[in-house]
């Protein structure tokens, strides 16, 4: 019963959020701030994790290729495929659910418990629209950029690892990266990224928006936002993979 109530409240909130903003100029200003908070401020963590993961994938592939029948260019190919198909869209989204999701839930939750949301409402402003829509929009625009950045850095990390360890030559690795390329994998990654970005921003916004109580409840909402977003990301990963790749 409780889960039905939660789904109902979430759908109602999204219905409120996806209304025409009261003032376009104010919406654009909020959007710019959210680009900075949710997007630009995540570049560092995405860069570090993608670079190292790309390197690790490449090294692990190299160590696992025992048979001389398997060409070494498989390392580059596998690194590219893993980055595009799964690591960048899904794992980076999970990391963003932790970073961005908790930030959204705690920001909106704090606004709720300090009556800032009530203040918006009695000013005649739709608080869901004012607070949540720019965050969803910013995430859905910026996350694909972050994911492409992550893919590129991951592949670069693999190349760097091959160069340093000498497990494969630079030329062979790049040849592998360029082999058997299917452009649909990028489409698949982008579709997943958009869905995950929506999940992260909307679920976290929902969790923050309905906080009741004080700082303990804000902390709890923040944790729940990360947990719920992460579970939904994995569930939708499975659904989208089944729908798009089979």
């Amino acid at each position: 019963m409780k889960i039905i109530q939660e789904i109902g409240a979430y759908v109602w909130l999204m219905f409120q959020a996806f209304k025409r903003p009261d003032k376009g100029k104010v919406f654009r200003r909020q959007l710019m701030m959210d680009f900075q908070d949710l997007g630009t401020n995540s570049i560092g963590i995405v860069a570090v994790i993608s670079l190292f993961t790309g390197a690790i994938i490449a090294i692990q592939m190299a160590y696992n290729i025992d048979s001389p029948l398997i060409p070494l260019k498989t390392i580059g190919f596998s690194t590219r495929q893993m980055m595009i198909v799964e690591f960048s869209p899904t794992i980076i989204s999970l990391i963003l659910a932790g970073k961005v999701g908790s930030s959204i839930a705690s920001e909106i939750g704090t606004m709720r418990v300090t009556e800032q949301i009530d203040a918006l409402k009695v000013m005649g402003i739709n608080p869901a629209n004012y607070l949540i829509l720019p965050k969803i929009t910013a995430s859905m625009i910026y996350n694909p950029v972050l994911i492409v950045f992550s893919i590129v850095l991951g592949i670069f990390g693999g190349w760097l690892a091959m160069l340093v360890t000498g497990l494969s030559s630079s030329v062979v690795y790049i040849e592998g990266v360029r082999s058997w390329y299917d452009p649909f994998t990028i489409t698949y990654a982008m579709i997943k990224t958009l869905v995950f970005a929506f999940i992260i921003a909307s679920v976290s916004g929902y969790k923050g928006f309905y906080v009741k109580g004080g700082s303990v409840e804000v902390g709890r909402a923040s944790t729940q936002a990360v947990v719920y977003s992460s579970i939904l990301i994995i569930v939708f990963d499975l659904i989208l993979t089944q729908m798009l790749l089979t």
Binding site: D22, K23, K25, V26, M33, T110, M111, T114, E115, Q116, D118, A119, K121, V122, M123, G124, I125
Partner: protein, 249 residues
């Protein structure tokens, strides 16, 4: 003028407001007083549209506010200024941006005009040279004054204040009360103040509603409140040692 007509409000099995009727008059500071849990905040939240009433009507002038949908309520809410207990300033905005916020949302004023209005209202609440500070960088009294400045920036017809001097020292509390009273007179607003501070009651209580266990127990003004024979009201008014001593003298 705001007319509250036979309103009731319950949460689950608990009835918080019981058939309350009262008129908040224009150009006066109307106080809602009572002990914690008496229903003051719920009454105010019903008046500003944060809660819906179960029964009865709330009329702003001749308009039935409580009969409206959320969307229709917004039109009247734009005529309200609300001072929340903690100020409810937006943390990520400076003082100037906070006060300018309603102007950005609801007016087509140029930036210069908005700045001028912001400076005027900040000057009116005696807050100069704080424009670029963030809420975390100013004192509790200053936060209340910024919140008042924000509330009056659109020149509202109705001003609601939820415990405006809670958490303030007596001197600052008195200044805030004076400020609200002066602004009420100056802008001819209908001001509704929720308080349990007896100093405010004596200082600015031009019309007072005393709530007790969700019912309107007594109504009057600051001139008669100390002379009443209402037992529950006397218990509330003379609940502190200071007021008891004053009463004895």
């Amino acid at each position: 003028m705001i007319e509250v007509k036979n309103i009731s409000k319950s949460f689950a099995d608990q009835q918080v407001l019981k058939d309350i009727s009262f008129v908040f008059e224009k150009g006066k500071t109307n106080l809602i007083i009572g002990q914690s849990g008496s229903g003051k905040t719920v009454l105010m939240k019903c008046c500003i549209g944060l809660l819906d009433v179960d029964k009865g009507e709330i009329n702003f002038g001749k308009t039935c506010f409580s009969c409206f949908s959320e969307k229709e309520k917004r039109k009247i809410q734009k005529e309200m200024g609300v001072l929340f207990q903690g100020g409810a300033l937006f943390d990520s905005f400076t003082v100037e941006d906070n006060v300018m916020f309603p102007l950005n949302m609801f007016t087509k004023m140029s930036l210069e005009e908005k700045r001028e209005r912001v400076n005027t209202v900040l000057k009116r609440v005696n807050l100069l040279n704080a424009n670029k500070k963030f809420p975390a960088e100013i004192s509790g009294g200053m936060i209340k004054r910024v919140a008042i400045a924000r509330a009056i920036s659109l020149r509202p017809n109705y001003l609601f204040c939820d415990e405006p001097n809670s958490g303030l020292d007596p001197k600052t509390a008195e200044l805030i009360d004076e400020l609200i009273s002066d602004l009420t007179e100056e802008f001819q607003m209908t001001t509704v103040i929720n308080t349990h501070d007896m100093n405010s009651v004596i200082q600015i209580g031009q019309k007072i509603a005393f709530l007790h266990k969700g019912e309107l127990w007594w109504e009057g003004d600051k001139n008669v409140i100390l002379k009443t024979d209402n037992e529950e009201l006397n218990e509330f008014v003379f609940s502190t040692e200071l007021t008891r001593r004053i009463n004895r003298n």
